[in-house]
Amino acid sequence: MTVLAQSGAYRPAPPPAWRPRTDAAPLLPDEEPYRLLGTGAELDPELLTTLYSQLVLGRRYNQQATALTKQGRLAVYPSSTGQEACEVAAALALTERDWLFPSYRDTLAAVARGMDPVEALTLLRGDWHCGYDPRATRVAPLSTPLATQLPHAVGLAHAARLRGDDVVALALVGDGGTSEGDFHEALNFAAVWRAPAVFLVQNNGFAISVPLAKQTAAPTLAHKAVGYGMPGRLVDGNDAPAVHAVLTEAVERARSGGGPTLVEAVTYRVDAHTNADDATRYRQDAEVAAWREHDPITLLETELATRGLLERDGTDLRATARDAAERMAADLRERMHREPALDPMALFDHVYAERTGQLREQAEQLRAELAAQEDADDARPDADDAEGDAR
C-alpha cells in the first residue's frame, strides 16, 4: 500500500455511527512467548545447525571482545552474552539487500551478517566512530543515543519503498530504549506509512541498572504495538529458531506490503552492562544463575542432540563450531593488537563535503602543531618510539 492510498482526508461518520477502525485482537501478542525448541515442531536441520554454529561463534566473540577490554584494546564493550539467539536470528532473518539498524550493543548482529569483527568494533576500540561503510554492508552505524536509530530505519524503509526497491529495515532496540520518545514516534510513522520495517526489542531485563519493572507497567513490551496499529509478537529470546521464525514472518509481512511489526524477545543480559559496570550493585547472582540455565546455546544443543543432528558425516558439530569460533577469536585478538594508524588530520576531512575556511585554518594549526612536535621528537634521542602511541 502506498502512502497515497491512505491519503484521503479522514472522514469519520458522525459519532452515532462511529466505530473503531479495526479490531485490536490481531495486533495483540500471544499470552505466552513463542517457542520452538522442545516443542517437536518441524524445523529445518540446516537452519538449526547454522544457528548453532553462529551462536557458538557469537558467544566466543563476546568473550574475546570482553577480554580485549581487559587488555586495553577496546575502550569499552557492551556484551551480548546470553542474547546471542536474538543477535544471530536478526542477522539471518534478513536478505543481503535488507538493512540492519543496530544499537551500540549489537555488533554481534553485524558480525553474524558477515561483517569483519574488527570493522564492527572500530567504535568501541576508540578508533573512528563508525568502522564500516553502511551502504556497502547495509548496516547502519551503531547507535549510541538510544532509540534514535528507529526513525532512521523507518525513513530508509519508506524511501526504499517509494523507490520501488525490495528492501526491509530491521531495527534493534533495548527494553530501556522503548521508553524514549523516538521509539514512539518511529513506530507511529512506520504504521501510518506502512513502512517495511521490523522492530526487535531485546528485553534483557535491564537498562544498565534499571529493571524492567521501573521501565514499564505494560503487560509486555509487545503490547505497545496495538497503540500503533501494528502486530505485536512475543518470543522467547533464547530460543534461536523461534526468534528466527518470528522475525522471518515479520520481515516477509513487511516485504509484501503488510506493514511493520513489533517483536519483543524476552532474554537476559548475562554480563554486566559493559566491562565498566558493576552489576552486583543492583542484581543478585542467583538471578543470573537461573538465566544461565536457560542459555540459548545449551537449549539449541539439546534440541540438536534430540534430533540427532550433532554428528554428521562423522564430524561433531560442536567441535566444528568451536574450532571456527577459536579461529575467529585468534584472528580478532591478533588484529586487535595491531595499533590502528589514525591520521589526526582526518578530524577535518568529513565534517562537510568540503572543508570550510574555518576548518582549513584549524587544520593548518594542527598540522603546524604536529610538525613542531615531530621536530621536537626527532631532536630527542629516543625518537624511534615517538610515533605509535596513538592511544
Partner: protein
Amino acid sequence: MSTAATSHAAAPAPPARDPARKPTPLAQALNRALRDAMAEDPSVHVLGEDVGALGGVFRVTDGLTAEFGEDRCTDTPLAEAGILGAAVGMAMYGLRPVVEMQFDAFAYPAFEQLVSHVARMRNRTRGALPMPLTIRVPYGGGIGGVEHHSDSSEAYYIATPGLHVLTPATVADAYGLLRQAIASDDPVVFLEPKRLYWAKDAWDPGAPAAVEPIGRAAVRRAGTSATLITYGPSVPVCLEAAEAARAEGWDLEVVDLRSLVPFDDETVTASVRRTGRAVVVHESGGFGGPGGEIAARVTERCFHHLEAPVLRVAGFDVPYPPPMLERHHLPGVDRVLDAVDRLQWESRWTEGGGR
C-alpha cells in the same frame, strides 16, 4: 507587516525595468524554489506538518502535493523528532529530504536528531553517509505571534559543527539560497525570516536571478563610516538605519551575511578594515548569540583597524516577549543608530587616527 519589511522591498531591489520581474513576496520565491527543485530532481521530497493540502501555515509548500503527489510532499504525523529522524533515514537511502519545521520553537523536539545525527552522520561514516537534508525553519518575531512563535534559535545551530546555517533576506536569495541548500550534499538549516515572508522584491520566477554561493556574504549597501553586519530579518532594519544615518552624516555599509555557517570572513573583514568600525545587528538574544562570535572574529582579524570596539545590537536576554511588547524587544532603527553613535567618533579627532 512591519515597516521594516516594506522599506526592504524598496531598498535593495533594483528598479523593475524587466517586465518579467514582478513584485514577488519572499514566501512565493521559496515556494517556487521547492517546486523547481522537485521538478528537476525526483529525489527531492518535502515532508512536515501541514505541508500537503494546506500548503504549510505560511503557504510555502502550496500546491506541491497537488503537483507532485503525496509521496513527494507528505503530511506527516505530528512529531518533529520523527520527521527529522525519518528524513535522516531517507537521506541514508539517497533521497534529498526537505523538512519543514512549522515554527522555530517547534524544531526543539528534533534537537537530538539534529545535533547527534544530522550534523554528525557524514563525519561518523567518513563520508559514506552524507546528509543532503534541508531543514526549513521559519524564525524570528515581529508578526504578533503568541508565545513560542517568534524564537530566533540560530545560536544553537551555528554552535553545531556539521550543519550549514543559511538565512535569506531578499527574494532573490530566498529562491537562490534555497535551491543551493537543496542541492548541497551537506545538511542545511535554512532559516526563513517570518516577517519577511510577505516582503516583496521585483523578481522573475521564469529566470531567477543568480545569487552568490553558500558561504558568501553580500554588501547590500556600500558605505565608508562603519559597517553594519547583519542577516535575515535585520537586514531591512539596517538598510533603513543606514538611510536614516545619512542625516547624521554617517555613510554606513550594510553586510548581509546570508550564510552564518560557513562564515564569510573575507567579505566581512574587508569591509570592517575599510570602515574601521562595526556594529553587529541581530534579533536573537545577545548573550551567547551569533553577535558574540561575529564581534570576536572581526576583532581578531581587524584589531589594528578598529577605531572602536565592535558593538552589538540584539534582542534582550529575555524569553521572547508577548506581541504587545515585542516592539520594545526587537532591535529597530533607533537602537542601531544609538549603537553607531557609540562608536567613539570623537576618538578619530582626539587620537588623530585619520582614515
